[in-house]
């Protein structure tokens, strides 16, 4: 009973504590703007016009799952245009809940176009977390702040807490599952320094997968030459991934692991040439209410000093 009571308290504290409206509104802004950024950087409708040979190996049930009917690039272009509009509305906070819902629905359909001809799982192309978060935000009062033509309510509420915590969890799960998938697919042997060395070398050897610049293609091979660094990278990578699930629930974890995640992505970019498209979404862990309050205080203090001098 004691354990159940403690779990109940933890659950209520995690999901139903008073939370400022501003933090949830920033979550809406971050995920809608991120989805818009990725959508405007791809040409998803064009894939609908691929020749029939590309669709031969696609499972029919996957086409139904995403309501994809090949050969309708014009329709897909219209849907993409609608998605751009709904994402803009969500970003601005205009009819935000409806806009978030429609955006998520349209992205659920559009995103798989990028990969459907060889895999129905378009993860790590930029939209996966956005779709989850936009659906969740559409169920919340996500436009009580940061919206056109309105002012934020002053009272924090549990209504702003559970959706924010859930979208933070959608992102934190990415790190957790990235860690567990290594252990599930390769076992503890994934941590073998020889395996890490091979990963660094194989990325450095592929001239077709390379970013040009003085910072790239040197860090990975350098780490690969040091057994202890490979072991450290393996342990650090998996441990940091697994621990990240604590971030939505712990201020200490947020302060340590969010900057650490940013550092991790920079290292991955430099050593493996992999750009983590979700990196800007880490901003959802910032306490914007506190940050904006501090900035206002500092500005007010600066104004006061100017007035005194005058």
């Amino acid at each position: 009973m004691f354990l159940i009571e403690r779990l109940r308290r933890f659950w209520n504290s995690a999901f139903f504590s008073p939370e400022p409206a501003l933090n949830l509104a920033f979550a809406r802004l971050i995920f809608a703007a991120h989805a818009l950024w990725v959508l405007l950087s791809r040409d998803l409708p064009a894939n609908s016009a691929l020749p029939a040979e590309f669709w031969q190996g696609v499972d029919r049930s996957d086409l139904w799952r995403y309501l994809i009917f090949p050969g309708h690039a014009d329709v897909e272009s219209i849907l993409q245009g609608v998605a751009v509009i709904t994402l803009l509305l969500a970003t601005l906070g205009v009819m935000a809940r409806t806009a978030c819902f429609l955006s998520a629905l349209l992205l659920y359909h559009l995103a798989p176009l990028e990969t459907i001809y060889w895999t129905p799982n378009p993860f790590q192309r930029g939209f996966t977390v956005d779709v989850l978060c936009l659906f969740t935000l559409s169920c919340s009062r996500c436009a009580d702040a940061l919206r056109l033509g309105g002012s934020p309510p002053t009272a924090p509420s549990a209504d702003y807490c559970w959706p924010l915590r859930l979208v933070q969890l959608h992102l934190a799960q990415v790190y957790l599952l990235s860690g567990t998938s290594k252990l599930v697919l390769a076992g503890v042997q994934w941590l073998d320094p020889a395996n890490l060395r091979a990963w660094f070398l194989v990325f450095a050897e592929q001239d077709q997968v390379r970013r040009l610049g003085p910072f790239f293609n040197t860090v990975g091979p350098w780490i690969a030459e040091h057994w202890l660094l490979c072991l450290t990278a393996a342990l650090y990578g998996v441990a940091a991934n697994l621990c990240f699930i604590a971030v939505p629930f712990s201020r200490l974890a947020r302060r340590l692991l969010v900057p650490d995640a940013f550092f991790f992505h920079v290292m991955v970019l430099l050593s493996l040439n992999i750009f983590w498209i979700n990196t800007p979404q880490l901003l959802v862990y910032v306490n914007w209410h506190w940050l904006v309050g501090r900035l206002k205080e500092k500005l007010a203090a600066a104004d006061e000093r100017v007035n005194v001098r005058a």
Partner: protein, 207 residues
Amino acid sequence: MGVVKAVLVLGFVGLGLIATHLPRTEGSRRRLINLYIGYTLALGLGAGLPVFEVWPFSTWPLVAGRVAQTVTQPRVVAVGADGQEYPIDYRAWEPFVFEELIAWYDKHFARLDRAAQDQVGAFLLGVIEHNRQQWAVGKPVIHFERYLGPLSTPLFLGHPQHWTQGAGVPSRPFRGLRFYSESWNVEERWRDPSKVSRKLTYEYREP
């Protein structure tokens, strides 16, 4: 299976809508929100932990396997009228993302009959040659940078920009494509970059 996955995602969407729109009392609302959160967490972990995707509840197997001793990768080159081979700038494949195309080639191309393979070859050559012509006259159309220019989202993996660096855009038309399968031992190639074996797996020549 795809339909089952769609139903599971529909459950996530539907429960969220029900939890926030239907309840008339605070108590029933809280219970439904708890159910929604529980369902979402269970689906996320249920899909992720056994590595069984129900996109957008994904499994995120990033750099997750063990590297085989011998690595195999495809390489595609363009062929001129004189038979000379040219590297292809990754942006010339757009609207394909290069690694998606390569993944499709690896998984499905060999299962097509020769006529279908040639249809694909002709289509891909058309994409590449059309882009080459635009680049050659100084009017490149980079699909992915149409709206945001250099501020566009970078691709997951980086690729060399063959047509804006080094020899630049080939001036003569492409007449064919060659698909190679390249294999190498990771340690051997690291010591000697020339230790790569290459096998022609498919060639398309314009009729």
